[in-house]
């Protein structure tokens, strides 16, 4: 079973993107950071009580699924859209939606475009192997527009490079990615993201079919993060919260019942997670929130009771 292998190996193998600020990218010292990365750290913390016991595999969109299928990684946490075919025929299970996103367009300001509807005849750069590649064709078709051409590149860097060099008029990807990419451009101010969101892009971690225990574990790490935020358990106060009398908090933190054992861990699994990475809101704010260079509002990604749709299943 995956969990046993992970334990024997002493680390979680986690597939991430090759460098997408806010989600997963290495800093100058080659330390990985970002929303997707922190999720992997949370898994490691839950298992080993050490968020460092995770090995990151940077993967291009094109390579990510085969890497997971082949067992090179245990979990893929790489802004991957939850689609039916991926969930079924490709042989994966999505453990949750860590970031609700939608596809948008990045263009040069100089073009003076207001709307994606004006993109008739434009050349479009997209990363191959993504849902974006499929959506963009559908968008043009459903709006009765003709795109100039869609040029698909193997990695995000190549795609951005091509956009920047003028090979395309438009770069399309998930809006969060666009925001991140824009930061990497030489003159961020010269580029704008068009208002349209042309698709639903629920991004989340996924695991292979065939190991329900591991699937549960990943899924519940995600729920633990959400529940912690909802219950106000934070990295700072988690030690105090252990003594909380709130029955929801007690169940989450394992002071009441041994829910952790259901996923092959110990009762205090969630404590370890929160201590290591903080709750979902903390992770969000740290990596992509308004205070970061990306500066993305919570929006849909707020908790269900705060106007968003993030909803952690109850620990019970």
């Amino acid at each position: 079973a995956t969990l046993d292998e992970v334990k024997a190996r002493g680390s979680v193998n986690c597939g991430v993107s090759q460098g997408l600020p806010g989600f997963s990218s290495p800093n100058d010292k080659n330390e990985w950071g970002g929303l997707d990365v922190d999720f992997c750290r949370a898994i490691a913390a839950a298992i080993f009580n050490d968020p460092a016991k995770v090995k990151f595999s940077p993967l291009s969109a094109k390579d990510r699924f085969t890497a997971l299928t082949s067992g090179a990684i245990d979990v893929l946490s790489r802004n991957t859209t939850w689609t039916m075919s991926r969930d079924t025929t490709l042989g994966f299970n999505f453990a949750g939606v860590i970031y609700y996103d939608g596809q948008g367009f990045l263009v040069r300001k100089a073009l003076g475009l207001k709307s994606a509807k004006e993109l008739q005849g434009a050349s479009i750069c997209v990363q191959t192997g993504t849902s974006n590649e499929l959506n963009v064709s559908d968008f043009f078709r459903s709006n009765n527009m003709k795109n100039g051409e869609v040029i698909a590149f193997g990695t995000i860097d190549e795609t951005v490079k091509a956009y920047e060099s003028g090979r395309c008029d438009v770069f399309t990807a998930d809006r969060s990615q666009l925001a991140a990419v824009r930061l990497k451009l030489t003159n961020a101010a010269d580029h704008v993201i068009l208002p349209e969101t042309i698709s639903k892009e629920p991004l989340g971690p996924l695991v292979r079919h065939g190991d329900d225990q591991w699937f549960d574990l990943v899924k519940w790490v995600y729920f633990a993060l959400l529940n912690a935020e909802e219950l106000g358990v934070t990295q700072k106060n988690v030690d105090e919260q252990v003594n909380s009398q709130n029955p929801d908090v007690k169940r989450l933190l394992g002071t009441d019942g041994k829910y952790g054992e259901g996923i092959g861990l110990t009762a205090d699994w969630a404590v370890r997670i929160i201590k290591a990475t903080g709750n979902y809101g903390e992770i969000y704010d740290r990596n992509v929130g308004p205070a970061t260079p990306l500066g993305i509002e919570r929006g849909l990604n707020n908790l269900w009771n705060k106007g968003g749709i993030q909803y952690g299943m109850p620990v019970r």
Partner: protein, 431 residues
């Protein structure tokens, strides 16, 4: 003398059963080997089965009929995202074949020119050709593809600042030539006529190369027929010219006559059919040029890099092929009164070819295989479209990689077979 009639060898007699019998030994070794192979194949199969069913991945080729859903930037046959993966496969395959075929042609041209240049008496030309060969052969092909794509083509101006090329310079030159010889008044009507043709109609920008495109309307078939007729006629003419030369010894300029036919017949047909072919000139509209024929920069970069890289190897092959023909051969031809041209054509090249062909074949194969590197610059060849995008969308790695490998293998085998056949034809007959 004893009477021994010619007879065939006897059938193998029965042998004593011994472990040092080589026949028996070899069969045992082979059986063991066969068993190992079977076990290997079986265990591969069983592992794959187990792994796939554990993951719940679909298998089989049913996916080929599913909707592909993605766009492809260069399509030789009509294609859009609502067509099937099977169609996308064909589009990719054709793109591979296109770049491989043009690459082979171009590389051969470059290679022959450079190979001959390396043998030139002219030291400047020789040095340049040597530099070309050494540089191109010693840089990885992928490096060269990326160089052309990233460093050269991507620095071209955007569509609005495109470099336009028309016939302007030509007509301008004619005009000034005419005025120079005092016929300036003639220049006026000519320039008027030329103005239409002279506007830029070929554009180069960082989106590639945009060319005027012929649009075939009703009646265009006539031109095609005329072209076919002209081709047939030139063949017949060439054969007739050869016959005549053999019969009477008199040469006939079959090449020029054929060329004239090839131009004149379709032109005449076009006139007769009321000029059914119109030229669609590209126009800058919105983001990009609309109309015309577009050649994407990914293709150009790949083609250039492949042709230039392989050309370096072919140049060396050609050079050594020519050097392999001894000096005595050209001396003999000269002493028979043959001049340099015929000596080269009738004596040197046919002999050089037999040295050149086998290594040339492997260069053609290498070029075809290297065309798969287009994936690094986003050229939608078989590998990118099928083993890339399709594999990603469907996840059926085994089927897709197997088919991809099989396709390349088939191309390789076909090419070697054709070149092998040709090589047999040019091989020397020895005692």
């Amino acid at each position: 003398m004893s009477d021994v009639r010619l007879s065939g060898p006897p059938a193998a007699s029965r042998r004593r059963w011994s472990w040092t019998d080589p026949k028996l030994r070899s069969s045992v070794i082979q059986i063991v080997l066969a068993l190992i192979m079977v076990w290997l194949v079986w265990s591969f199969y069983a592992n794959a089965q187990a792994n796939l069913s554990r993951l719940g991945i679909a298998s089989g080729f049913g996916f080929l009929d599913n909707r592909a859903g993605f766009a492809i930037s260069q399509t030789l046959i009509p294609y859009n995202e609502s067509m099937s993966y099977g169609r996308a496969f064909v589009v990719g395959l054709l793109n591979t074949l296109l770049v491989a075929f043009l690459g082979v042609v171009l590389a051969t041209l470059i290679g022959f020119v450079m190979g001959v240049a390396r043998l030139s008496k002219n030291v400047v030309i020789k040095a340049l050709a040597s530099a070309y060969v050494e540089i191109t052969r010693n840089l990885p092909p992928l490096f060269q593809i990326m160089f052309w794509y990233l460093a050269v083509l991507s620095t071209l101006p955007g569509p609005r600042q495109s470099w336009g090329f028309g016939l302007q310079p030509l007509f301008g030159a004619i005009g000034s030539g005419l005025s120079a010889i005092g016929l300036g008044f003639l220049g006026t009507p000519i320039s008027n006529f030329a103005a239409g043709l002279a506007a830029p109609s070929v554009f180069v920008n960082n989106r590639g190369l945009v060319l005027p495109r012929p649009v075939f309307e009703e009646g265009s078939m006539a031109i095609l027929y005329a072209l076919i007729a002209a081709v047939v006629a030139s063949f017949v003419l060439a054969r007739w010219a050869k016959k005549r030369r053999e019969a009477t010894g008199k040469p006939f300029p079959a090449f020029w006559a054929g060329l004239a036919l090839l131009i004149a017949l379709p032109l005449a047909a076009s006139f007769a059919a009321g000029n059914p072919v119109t030229i669609e000139t590209p126009e800058l509209r919105g983001f990009n040029f609309a109309g015309g024929l577009k050649v994407i920069p990914e293709f150009v970069a790949l083609l250039l890099a492949l042709a230039i890289y392989t050309g370096g190897f072919i140049a060396e092959i050609v050079r050594s092929g020519i050097l392999a023909v001894s000096k005595g051969q050209s001396e003999a031809a000269h002493s028979l009164g043959l001049r340099n041209g015929p000596t080269l054509r009738l004596v040197i090249i046919p002999q050089a070819m037999r040295v050149i062909v086998p290594p040339l074949t492997s260069q053609y194969l290498n070029l075809t295989k290297n065309s798969s590197l287009g994936v690094a610059v986003g050229y939608p060849d078989l590998f990118a479209v099928f083993a890339g995008t399709t594999l990603n969308q469907t996840g059926q790695a085994i089927e897709i990689i197997a088919v991809t490998m099989a396709v390349y293998l088939t191309i390789s085998i076909l090419t070697s077979a054709i070149m092998g056949w040709y090589n047999k034809r040019v091989a020397l007959v020895e005692r």
